[in-house]
């Protein structure tokens, strides 16, 4: 029995049957209740994946702290804040309900006035690097780069109101670049991605693609 359960074919068969049912239902409109049930299962599985993520994260950083690996204090800080947010979420009440052990005000402070500015700050940090790139990297070494830089300048003048204030012609030029030229390139990328996904699905069904099972190719 144990040998049968360990066989690699079983997860591939499960994958093929489940994905086949959902695809069949999507394209034909038949057996929607079966497809809906399977989709419902996936939502439950997603919830369990968070628990798995939690265990993995805790294990990884606890080992780092125990072994005093390089930069281990960062792991300690991460775990401390992780636990603080976890406790505030679990005991801080949901929506209008008051928390059991943590006040809603404290929870809101943590989430809205601590986490939110930090996340925004991290994202905004990219902006500063971009301006360094403008100075260091945006140099016309070839015609291709020249075209790219002119396009970038036109789009920058299109998105900022000052562009239209300087010359209203920047608006239709920018709109054309965004809606026509750039979209054409994206359409090609999307078709490529779609074909790639079909190929990946076929490889998985035929048993050539096993990376999703955790065993590599």
């Amino acid at each position: 029995m144990a040998v049968i359960l360990k066989r690699g074919e079983i997860p591939i068969i499960l994958f093929t049957v489940v994905s086949g049912i959902i695809l069949f239902s999507y394209f034909t409109g038949l057996i929607p209740e079966v497809a809906d049930e399977l989709i419902g299962w996936s939502i439950i599985l997603v919830s369990f994946s968070y628990i798995l993520g939690l265990v993995t994260l805790l294990r990884y950083h606890l080992v780092r702290i125990r072994k005093r690996e390089k930069y281990w204090p960062y792991s300690a800080i991460l775990l401390a804040f992780f636990l603080m947010f976890l406790v505030s979420g679990l005991l801080g009440g949901v929506g209008g309900y008051e928390g059991i052990a943590v006040s809603k005000e404290f929870k809101d402070f943590l989430w809205l006035h601590m986490l939110a500015p930090l996340q925004t700050g991290v994202l905004s940090y990219v902006g500063f690097y971009m301006y360094t790139v403008f100075f260091r990297g945006a140099r016309t070494r070839s015609w291709d780069i020249g075209i790219m830089l002119i396009t970038a300048i036109l789009l920058m003048l299109y998105t900022a109101p000052i562009g239209a204030a300087i010359w209203p012609g920047f608006v239709p030029i920018g709109a054309w670049l965004k809606d026509v030229a750039n979209s054409g390139a994206y359409r090609g990328i999307m078709i490529g991605v779609g074909i790639g996904l079909i190929a990946l699905w076929l490889r998985a069904v035929l048993g050539y693609e096993k990376s999703y099972l955790g065993g590599g190719r």
Binding site: W111, L115, A116, L123, Y131, T140, A160
Partner: protein, 288 residues
Amino acid sequence: MAAKTELGRFPTADRVIFLVFLILISTPLVVLIGLPIPISESTRKSYELMNSLKSGDVLVMCFEMDVGAFPALGPGDMAALKHAFTMVKEKGIKVIIFGTYESGVKIYIDKILQETKEYWESLNYGVDWVNFGWIPGHETAMATFARDVHTACSVDVYGTPVDELPIMKDIKTINDVTGIWYTTYSSPDMLPRQWSPLEWPGLKWTICSTLFGTVSWLMPYVNAGSITSYVADQRGGAEYEVLIGKRGLGCKFMDAQSLGHIYGIALIIGSNVYYLYTHAKKPKRKEE
């Protein structure tokens, strides 16, 4: 010349670039420039679609957002929320709010609702509008919502079962929804895949509010009709603020963006002038 990437050890030129950038984008917070904001066709169309909602129509506002992207898409979402809640009061539309993305949806929704409190606090929660917070599952949750709303949205953020919410009584599938405002700071693919007006005859339109770089990604969907319209980034949010007559954060950001972009263009031009000048002085090598 090589840039040192360790924190606090940037070359002097980079520090100067950062400092000037910081001063420029902070200036509009003190001194408003107030440049006129031309309204794009897509934002105007989005506004008109929202404004076309009538009494009893149902608007779904799905925010696939992380609070980190608030400066980019928050102004547009808040303007749309203000517009929606005003229509709840004036026209009697119904509004359903939630998000399915894994990262920070609940915090984001809390934040934009906190910022628009004056617009919804006098409304009847559970009858005029409802907030389901975060529904786990992302695209699978969206697929479930389309086919069976009550399964996807089983309880609201207060823990009230969906069957006890009067607003949800007649909303069983996505065909009972009139329009969707969908905000995403990542892939827009899920919207046309799961909630396309071409697939669901009851759904009249969908609007995608997204980052500027993503607009080109969703344009093929817009051209095909599986997304009806879009609002692009901070700029689209500012335009929406102008359209509803409530200038706010988005319009303030536009001044900062104008200065920032001009600074960026100046850096590109300055850098190229310097490069061409120094390049012209160097003897030409064969490889070049």
